[in-house]
Amino acid sequence: MSESQRRKYTQEEKNRIFDGEFMPHIDSMYNFAYRLTFDEDDAKDLVQDTYLKAYRFINSFEQGTNAKAWLFRILKNSFINEYRKKSKQPAKVDYQEVETYYNSDDVDFQGTTDLRAESVKDMLGDEISNALNALAVDFRTVIILADLEGFTYEEMAKILDIPIGTVRSRLHRARNLLKDKLRGYAQSMGYKTDEEE
C-alpha cells in the first residue's frame, strides 16, 4: 500500500464512510455471523472484529464500490481465520459430501421433483432455518449470500475468492442439498409430496 493510499481519507471522511456506508449493514452482518457461528456471543464478537478491521483498513475501501460486499469479505475471512477453530459448534465440513457434490455432474436431480412449491410455502420458519443451518458451511454460505442477501455471482466470487463458475456450481449444489433437507421435513411433517398423489 503506498503512502498516498494510506492517507486517502481525512478523519471526517472516514467517519462519514463508516457511519453512512458501513454501519447500515449491521443487521445483515449479524445475521451472516450468527448463521456461521450459531452462537450469539461469537456472532457479536465476529461482527465487532469485522467493523474494527473495516475501520482500520478503511483506506483500502474505494468509495463508490459495494461496501456491503467489502464488509462481508472481511467477515468471511475473519470467520475462517479465527472463529472456525474456536467456534463452540464446530463448523465441521463434511468433506465427503463436499467432494461428492463438487466432483459429480449427474447426482443433481434425483428425487428433487417430489418437493412441491406449496409445501415449501407452508413450512415454518424454524424448518427452513434448520434446513439451511444443517448444510456444510461452504454450501450454507453461498445460499446466505445469494438468497438472503441478494449478492450477484460476481460479488460472491470476490467475497469468497473463488471463480464465478465455482460460485454457480456450488450454489446449484447447495440448493439441491437444501431441497433434500426440505424434502425430509416435508415428508416427516406430512406435507403434500408427489409420492402421495
Binding site: 436431480f109 432455518s129 446466505i144 446449484h172 426440505l182
Partner: protein, 91 residues
C-alpha cells in the same frame, strides 16, 4: 387435479430433454444473472415444459421463504454502540 392453478398446463411437455442444463439455467435466471435474454428463455420454458415450470416455482418459493424467514436474527441492542465506542478508543 389442476396442478399449478394456471391454464395451459396440459400443453406443456411432461419430460424435459435436458433437466440438468435447464434447471441450472432457470436458477441463473432467478438469480438475475441472465438479463433480458433470460426473460425470453424463461417464458419459453415455462410455457412449454412442465418439469421446468415446476422447478422454477419450487426454486422461487424456496428463495422467498429463505428471504422472509431466515433474515430476522435480532441484533443485540448495544452492538452498534459498542462498536462505535471501541473505534473511539482505538483512535
Amino acid at each position: 387435479m389442476e396442478k399449478n392453478g394456471k391454464p395451459n398446463s396440459e400443453d406443456r411437455k411432461l419430460q424435459c430433454s435436458d433437466v440438468s442444463k435447464c434447471f441450472q439455467l432457470l436458477e441463473s435466471i432467478l438469480d438475475g444473472e441472465m438479463g433480458e435474454e433470460g426473460k425470453e428463455i424463461l417464458k419459453e420454458k415455462l410455457d412449454k415444459c412442465q418439469p421446468c415450470f415446476e422447478h422454477f416455482h419450487l426454486e422461487q418459493a424456496i428463495r422467498e421463504v429463505l428471504k422472509t424467514k431466515c433474515t430476522k436474527q435480532p441484533v443485540p441492542n448495544q452492538l452498534a454502540d459498542s462498536i462505535r465506542q471501541m473505534i473511539q478508543e482505538s483512535k
